[in-house]
Each structure stands twice: as structure tokens, then as C-alpha cells.
């Protein structure tokens, strides 16, 4: 069960690339762990380290100035590719609590909510504005659905059920299991349908 998410305040880590895919977020040679923790050290591995395992000085996560920041600022179509939740676990495990981007890939976006990582979709203009100054403090307030940077207040959309799940850190399986009657009625109704075994 993820921890509840209400609001965070942090400076930004700007990742100025479009179409960042899940194979970049955590390369597949690191997907073999059987637990959810410990993926942070592999986040953006091939961008962070050269073939000898030495940090690449030109990659943003290796710039000491950005250390400890908990909001990742990204570009269009973030998280394309695989359904692997390892991508989300790696971003969280590294220390991020939110990713702000103009758009996300569907499965990745959905996976974020299941783990308490808040994906925030802002307009292109707002994203440009944030990229122009990643060093100012930014506050994300989930309850009010706003991102505040300096005197600029930026609204974001999120559907009600996901918002509730995040705010309260709910156990979704527990909620569904309370609908047992509906599920078993559905199963009874299905019996005899040809498409079932």
C-alpha cells in the first residue's frame, strides 16, 4: 500500500528529452529483482553511467546541484514502452515523489498511482516556464490540484478516484474485495456462456 500523498515542495530536476521510454528509465538487465525496492540505483542507468560504470558528467542526475530534489520535470510522452512497474519503483526509490510532464504514456501514468508517485500533466506553456527556472521552489498540492511556482499558479486535472486513492493511500484490492457480491453474481451470470471454459 502506498503512503498517502497530500503535497510536496521541492526544486526541480529538469530532464529535457521527449519520449523517454521505460528501457531508459530502468534498463532491463536490472529487472530481475523480485522485490519492489532497490531499483533507484539503476534509474536512467545508461544515461548516468558510461560503459565502464563511471558517472557521465553531462547527465542531469550527476550534477550535485540537483541532488535531493523530489520532483522530476519531463517532456512529452514520458514513460512510453513497457508496462513494467519497475520504472515507477526506480523513480520512487531514487527519491522522487512526483513527475511533471506535458503528457505521459497510458500504462506508466496508471502505474504511478498504484505506488504513490504523482504524475502531473501541465500545459506546454507551464512546462516551458518551469524549464526556464528549475531552481525555484515548486509546491504541488494534490487536494487543490495546483502547482505553485513563484507567483504563478498552475492547475492540473486528475480524475476523482485516483485523487482519492493517492490522498488516502488506499488499498485498492481491499476496496474491490468489498464488492464480492457483485463479482460473484457476475460470475454466476457468466456460467454457460460459450466463451468461458
Amino acid at each position: 500500500m502506498p503512503a498517502p500523498f497530500t503535497s510536496i515542495t521541492s526544486r526541480l530536476v529538469p530532464l529535457d528529452r521527449v519520449n523517454v521510454d521505460t528501457d531508459q528509465i530502468v534498463p532491463k538487465q536490472f529487472l530481475k529483482l523480485i522485490h519492489k525496492t532497490g531499483f533507484g540505483k539503476y534509474l536512467f542507468y545508461d544515461w548516468r553511467f558510461d560503459t565502464n560504470g563511471k558517472p557521465r558528467t553531462d547527465f542531469v542526475l550527476n550534477d550535485a546541484k540537483y541532488a535531493g530534489r523530489s520532483i522530476l520535470l519531463a517532456r512529452e510522452n514520458f514513460g512510453i514502452g513497457s508496462s513494467r512497474e519497475h520504472a515507477v519503483w526506480a523513480i520512487l526509490d531514487y527519491g522522487f515523489r512526483s513527475v511533471i510532464a506535458p503528457s505521459f504514456a497510458d500504462i506508466f501514468y496508471n502505474n504511478c498511482f498504484k505506488n504513490g508517485l504523482l504524475p502531473v500533466v501541465l500545459s506546454k506553456q507551464d512546462i516551458e516556464y518551469l524549464f526556464s527556472n528549475p531552481d525555484q521552489e515548486v509546491e504541488i498540492c494534490l487536494q487543490d490540484q495546483i502547482v505553485v511556482a513563484g507567483d504563478r499558479v498552475m492547475h492540473f486535472e486528475i480524475d476523482g478516484s485516483r485523487k482519492k486513492l493517492m490522498l488516502e493511500g488506499l488499498d485498492e484490492i481491499g476496496i474491490t474485495l468489498k464488492l464480492e457480491d457483485k463479482i460473484s453474481n457476475f460470475e454466476k451470470k457468466m456460467i454457460g456462456q460459450e466463451i468461458k471454459m
Binding site: 497510458d106 460459450e194 471454459m197
Partner: protein, 469 residues
């Protein structure tokens, strides 16, 4: 009201709606070793059971070695993941096709092959290419590990919103056997972009789609996710029903006849409205080759590596991405595609590793030799595909030409097992993703059809395979 196939399946499976969310019943849950261990862990921690082990099927495919199966797995971490799956399936009572099984294979190859995939069903798997199963007129989604756990526990899945419907019409007729389903879908993605289908379910329509075999339809649906869609569907028809007859888990005898009656109703009604619609004419389509690091960065084999400005059409971020891609791929704008030489060839993956793919590739290869500069391998999608191919002598054709002939699995599609590209190696691959490092850190992937890959293996560079077929 007139409905699309997607809407019919959706309505048939809706258990409950609440606060804008929809709970859908899941008919088939496919499980593999990479995205499931944390889900089973979650069940154990909360003392929960698998609700319908009879609707859950597991296989090991991503990590498994594709060389000699009788040897122990060298990579300890892979071995741990594979053992974890076996243990979890035993503990929760789930059918498993393990490495020793004659029915083992890539999850999206064995589902259809065993008749687990049926028209009108909802299917999920912790893998984005679950979209493959939509070729049967099923609603099939890739899900994350939290959702795998949710489906294991409840046999249901929440949708925060109902996906949009997106009609992809393919018109025209193919001029050459060398222009394949792979070329069609690469072309579609090239045109709509990797985010073009976001939030939607594609329905592929048009006379050419009806003419395609099930295997070709699977190739197309497989890559729906590469166009950003949640799923892809082809309406079931005679081809679909014939394919399913007699499959292990499909209905048999009279039950089959009744099922066909039901499946016939799974068509998009005349007058049904799609949220979005595109039409492509493939009459003059050439074989497609990717040049960059996402599946929309594609050109005709007769063209050259594009200039980033011309590719980006004014979008500065796309231009930067193209510059980066060219640098990663070590390509210079203006280079004819047929001047690009390659080091490796991979024929396999859930996109193109079925019997028909191997037959087509073998036609190109027969009587020819793999270029001395190329290392080429064929990795059948399943043990059944492998056996069927061997029964008609394809293994000999490939081996005589100089290909390696492997055991089934995902293999070099993603390089989680020992089959990987070395840094800087360039590969003609029949898989679905050309992301940086996908086939091995620093590896350079060009996505192509099986016949294009086979011809490239022989020539050591890309060729227009239409000249050969």
C-alpha cells in the same frame, strides 16, 4: 444503439461503475516471471488467495536461455526469478508452462496457440504487448505489477476512464509478398507517432485486414502499443474461427459450434461511431526500416536516413530527439538505407516468431548463405512453433545458411537473457522496439519484417527484398 466491437466486449464485462471508475471482469490472466514476483509477494503479505487459478496461466519467457535447455541457468538472478515463478504457481495452484514444457514459449505466442485467447474475452498480462491477443477480437491490455496483483486477487480490473475508440482503416492491395503486416504497422506508427493512439483502443479495419492470416493480424495488433494505444482489435471472422478449432483450451465439438455462433455477433455494427478515424492506402507501400530510437522513426527501404529538420517538421523537441537518435545510431542524414551494413540479425519476438514468419524468412534464405560479417539467429516464439518448423525442415534451411537455431523465448528482443548486442553492434531485428539499449547497452536496432531481416543477413546490409521475392 450501434456499437463497436470494443464497446460490446466492454459492456459484456462491466461488473460495476462508481465515481467515474469502471470495474471490468477479466476472463484470462497470463503471467510471466518478470512482472509477477512482487504481485505474489503482495498476496502473501495480505494473506490473499488467487481468486480464479483456473483462468490464470503462466509461462517463463523473458529470462530463459535459448541455448541448450538441459544445462543449468548460469545467471543466478535469472534463475531466482524463474524459480520464484515456479514456486508461486505451485503455491497458488496456477497452470505453468515451464522450461521443460513442450508448450512453453513467449506468453503472447502460446496464448493464441493453446486457444487460451478467444474472441470476446478480456485478457490481461503484465506486459505491454498483450495487445497482440486483440487479433482474435479480444479486449487485451498490458498492465503493471500492482494490477497483476489486483487481478490475481479479484479477477477484476479498474479503469479510471473508458478508452476511446480509434478506427485504423487499411485500404488498397499489396503488390508484393515482400510487403508484410510488419511493414503496414510500422507505416501506421510512422504516420501517427508513438503517442498517436494515447488513451484509445485501435480497431483495424478494411478489406486487406480481412485477407490477413491470424499470424499477420497478431503482428499488427502486437505493435498497437508502439502507437501509444491501450489495445488493438481485429473483428473475428472465419479465419479466426478456423484457427481456433481443435486448440487445446478452446471450446470443442458442440460447444465450439455454439461459441462460433456467439463470436459471429462480435462485429462493429454499421453506423457505429468511432472517436477518431484514420485511413491509410498501402497499395504503394515499400518495406519499412527504422533508423532511430523509437518505432515512429521509420522510412522506406528505398529512402535515406532523414535530416532531423525535415523529420521534426518544426517541432524543436522532436528535432533534438532525432539528432540524439542519429548520434546514438551512428548514422548520417542522407545515407541510403541500403548502404547501412549490419553485424547481427535477430528473427524472433512476439511480433514475428510464428511459423508463418519463419516460413517466409526461410524462402529468402533458402540456398543462400549468411554474410561472413553477420551473426544471425532465429528464435522460434514457442516450443510448438519450433517443433512445427522442424517438422517441415526449416531448421535445416536456416542452419545450412549459417543461422543459429535456438530454443523459444524473448531472447534478444530485450536482452534479459544472455542473447544481447554488444555496444556499437548494429542489428536488423524483427522485434518491436528500437529504444536505446533495448537489445543490449549501446546496441543499435533497426526494426524490419522477417523477410527484410533474412535478406539483410545474406547481404550484410539492408536490401529491398521486393527484388528477391
Amino acid at each position: 444503439m450501434a456499437r463497436t466491437i470494443f464497446e460490446k466486449i466492454w459492456d459484456n464485462h462491466l461488473v460495476h461503475s462508481e465515481g467515474g471508475q469502471h470495474l471490468l471482469y477479466i476472463d484470462r490472466h497470463l503471467v510471466h516471471e518478470v512482472t509477477s514476483p512482487q504481485a505474489f509477494d503482495g498476496l502473501r503479505m495480505n494473506n490473499r488467495k488467487v481468486r480464479r487459478p483456473d483462468l490464470t496461466f503462466a509461462t517463463m519467457d523473458h529470462n530463459v536461455p535459448t541455448n541448450n535447455r538441459s544445462l543449468p541457468i548460469v545467471d543466478q538472478v535469472s534463475a531466482t526469478q524463474i524459480e520464484a515463478l515456479a514456486r508461486n504457481c505451485r503455491e497458488f495452484g496456477i497452470t505453468l508452462f515451464d522450461m521443460a514444457s513442450t508448450e512453453q514459449g513467449i506468453v503472447h505466442v502460446i496464448g493464441p496457440e493453446l486457444g487460451i485467447t478467444l474472441p470476446g474475452t478480456t485478457i490481461v498480462c503484465g506486459d505491454s504487448h498483450t495487445s497482440t491477443h486483440g487479433a482474435f477480437g479480444a479486449l487485451a491490455f498490458g498492465i503493471g505489477t500492482s494490477e497483476v496483483e489486483h487481478v490475481l486477487a479479484t479477477q477484476c480490473l479498474w479503469f479510471a476512464s473508458k478508452p476511446k475508440t480509434f478506427e485504423v482503416n487499411i485500404e488498397g492491395s499489396r503488390k508484393s509478398r515482400a510487403v508484410t503486416a510488419k511493414d503496414m504497422i510500422l507505416y501506421v506508427i510512422r504516420k501517427i507517432g508513438t503517442g498517436g493512439g494515447a488513451g484509445a483502443v485501435f480497431e483495424y479495419r478494411g478489406p486487406i485486414i480481412s485477407e490477413l492470416s491470424m499470424e499477420q493480424r497478431m503482428t499488427i495488433c502486437n505493435m498497437s502499443i508502439e502507437g501509444g494505444a491501450r489495445a488493438g482489435i481485429v473483428g473475428p471472422d472465419r479465419t479466426t474461427f478456423d484457427y481456433l478449432r481443435g486448440r487445446k483450451y478452446a471450446p470443442k465439438g458442440e460447444a465450439y459450434e455454439r461459441a462460433v455462433e456467439f463470436w459471429r455477433g462480435l462485429t462493429t455494427d454499421p453506423g457505429a461511431r468511432f472517436d477518431k478515424s484514420v485511413t491509410f492506402d498501402i497499395s504503394s507501400l515499400a518495406p519499412q526500416v527504422s533508423w532511430g530510437t523509437n518505432p515512429a522513426m521509420v522510412v522506406d527501404v528505398t529512402e535515406s536516413v532523414p535530416n532531423p529538420d525535415e523529420f521534426a517538421k518544426g517541432n524543436e523537441n522532436e528535432r533534438k530527439a532525432a539528432v540524439r537518435a542519429l548520434e546514438y545510431m551512428a548514422l548520417v542524414p542522407g545515407t541510403p538505407i541500403t548502404d547501412i551494413s549490419i553485424d547481427r540479425v535477430f528473427i524472433g519476438s512476439c511480433t514475428n516468431s510464428r511459423l508463418e514468419d519463419l516460413i517466409e524468412a526461410s524462402v529468402v534464405v533458402k540456398g543462400r548463405k549468411v554474410s561472413p560479417n553477420v551473426r544471425a539467429m532465429v528464435v522460434p516464439g514457442s516450443q510448438q512453433v519450433k517443433a512445427a518448423a522442424e517438422a517441415i525442415g526449416l531448421d535445416k534451411v536456416f542452419k545450412e545458411a549459417g543461422f543459429e537455431w535456438r530454443e523459444s523465448g524473448c531472447s534478444m528482443c530485450l536482452g534479459m537473457n544472455p542473447d544481447v548486442l554488444s555496444s556499437g553492434e548494429r542489428c536488423a531485428s524483427t522485434s518491436n522496439r528500437n529504444f536505446e539499449g533495448r537489445q543490449g547497452a549501446g546496441g543499435r536496432t533497426h526494426l524490419v519484417s522477417p523477410v527484410m531481416a533474412a535478406a539483410a543477413a545474406v547481404e550484410g546490409r539492408f536490401v529491398d527484398v521486393r527484388e528477391w521475392l
